[in-house]
């Protein structure tokens, strides 16, 4: 066993290692539960493979349902992550340190799950290879394949790089399984040169990951916006989707943070100030989201174009009125009412608001995908779209897969970036004092002093 690295002061961050080194009964029972739900989803998918997409609730004209909604939703959540952590790192926001890791984990897991959804949606998944053999780059679906793979690659690496020093710590502590930590730590020895390489790479990646992340959700919006369908064919869909993605991402991040803070007793690390700061960000995004939603619908409404108006009316007063107004309520009214006042910005309230927003953003995806299809230009026999047990089962399975993925990750790796916390303790204070000092106006030059005040 190698000796612990000199930079790791033993004891201070023991709380962060505990979930990895001790496994309680709760973990196994939760894992079993999620595994069961996941297995149910897999079973439903196998049923779908056998009997065709007829087992879902989709029909003509509503040819896209839960799978595409969930696809957009999950990929949206994935923006939590990397985008938030990249922006916070880039702007050197010191309070980011305990948050970034969780955000990145959300991204990686949710991207993998979301990326599978278009495949689940295929009528002929056995012909998936056609996309690579004879794919048409003109199709926005291909743009999506490209941008999601790029984002997945970039964000996985972006999760992995800051993890290396922590893995090395686990390796040096002798945590099991040793081979895993030795394999993943890449012989990290905390040499100055290694630090420099890691630092450079992270800097590069965090800059790269922002445009890639923006492009991903823009391209997803293009899937809809590139068609001529009323309600989809909109120029602001790109920014609208990106804003919505970041919005839902922050909310999901808060939910995860609050849950794991409770479960793993991370109160020392995730303090009210972190939630307060994120809640302010959430409030801003809520307002931005509302602004974009408003602009999007107002142009349709004011122009009075019949097809556009038909879709709009089904949303605000037709069969989709309830989810629509619920969405406005939980995405805008509740956050603005509760998060804008310091008094109500407490952690339980934030949890409530965040859960509401995650649900609300899912409804938003529903409101975007389904009504436009349900109200075609030309008269068509109408049938309400209701998800079947297959779609609900697969949705539940996907959520279970996310929880399971997060639990397994937390079982093997620290959920809070230990070295960044240590770095914060040892260096950040002086560094930021130095930084703040550099913001201050320079002292007057000596010759100016002499001239001005003789």
């Amino acid at each position: 066993m190698s000796e612990p690295t000199p930079t790791a002061p033993v004891g201070l961050d023991e709380d962060l290692y505990r979930p990895i080194e001790q496994t309680g009964r709760g973990f196994y029972s939760m894992a079993a539960f999620f595994l069961a739900v996941f297995a149910f989803g897999v079973y439903q998918y196998i049923r779908q493979l056998r009997f065709g997409l007829g087992v879902t609730g989709m029909n003509q004209p509503v040819t896209w349902g839960f799978y595409i909604i969930n696809f957009v939703f999950f990929i949206g959540i994935s923006h939590a992550g990397t985008l938030i952590s990249a922006i916070l790192r880039l702007t050197q926001a010191e309070w980011r340190r305990p948050i970034t890791r969780m955000a990145e984990v959300i991204t990686a897991i949710v991207l993998a799950i979301g990326g599978l959804h278009p495949i689940i949606d295929l009528g002929r998944p056995d012909r998936l290879l056609n996309v690579f053999k004879w794919g048409r780059l003109q199709s926005p679906l291909l743009w999506d394949v490209m941008s999601i793979t790029a984002y997945f690659a970039a964000s996985t690496v972006y999760l992995y790089l800051p993890l290396i020093p922590d893995i090395a710590r686990l390796r040096d502590r002798g945590t099991r399984p040793q081979w895993l930590y030795r394999f993943l730590s890449w012989n990290w020895q905390d040499t100055p040169q290694q630090r420099k390489v890691l630092h450079n790479a992270m800097n590069l990646l965090m800059i790269l990951v922002i445009p890639v992340a923006v492009s991903v959700h823009t391209v997803i919006s293009y899937i809809f916006a590139m068609t001529l369908e009323a309600g989809w064919h909109s120029t602001i869909f790109g920014p609208y989707f990106v804003a919505g993605a970041i919005f839902s991402g922050i909310a999901a991040l808060m939910v995860v943070m609050i849950v794991f803070r409770k479960v793993y007793h991370l109160e020392r690390y995730l303090k009210p100030i972190h939630f307060s700061n994120l809640a302010k960000l959430l409030l801003v995004m809520s307002i931005v989201w509302f602004y974009l939603t408003f602009s999007e619908y107002l142009t349709g409404f004011f122009g009075n174009e019949p097809a556009e108006l038909d879709v709009l009316m089904t949303k605000i007063s037709g069969p989709y009125a309830f989810p629509f107004w619920l969405m406005v309520f939980v995405n805008f009214v509740v956050p603005v009412a509760l998060l804008s006042r310091k008094k109500t910005r407490s952690i339980p309230v934030i949890l409530f608001v965040s859960v509401g927003i995650v649900v609300g953003m899912w409804i938003e995806r529903l409101i975007i995908v389904v009504p436009s299809l349900a109200v075609p230009y030309v008269e068509f026999p109408q049938h309400a779209y209701w998800p079947s047990i297959a779609e609900i089962g697969i949705f539940a399975g996907a959520i279970a897969a996310f929880c399971l993925g997060f639990m397994v990750f937390a079982k093997f790796f620290p959920l809070i970036c230990i070295w960044e916390i240590e770095e914060g303790r040892s260096e950040a204070l002086e560094e930021s004092v130095e930084r703040f000092r550099s913001y201050l106006p320079d002292p007057p030059r000596e010759d100016a002093l002499k001239e001005g005040r003789p």
Partner: protein, 76 residues
């Protein structure tokens, strides 16, 4: 053994990046062959290829960099 796994993962990463970089020109070839929206395909491939190149480049930089950094000291 662990060394081999590490090299394997590098190889996988590169295989991934390279196969994407092969895929895009291939799709352009397909488009040309089918007289099918070649201009679009070219435009999109021009956007995609640099992105993959950058991702692959960063990966290489990190892996090579870490190995170089390690060589300063003997491995534990």
């Amino acid at each position: 053994m662990i060394r081999a796994l590490q090299w394997l993962s590098i190889a996988l990463m590169w295989g991934f990046a390279l196969s994407l970089m092969v895929l895009v020109p291939w799709l352009v070839v397909v488009a040309a062959r089918w007289h099918d929206a070649l201009n679009w395909s070219l435009a999109i491939s021009l956007v995609m290829l640099p992105v993959y190149l950058t991702v692959a480049g960063v990966l290489t930089y990190v892996f090579v960099g870490l190995q170089r950094g390690r060589d300063d000291r003997s491995s534990p």
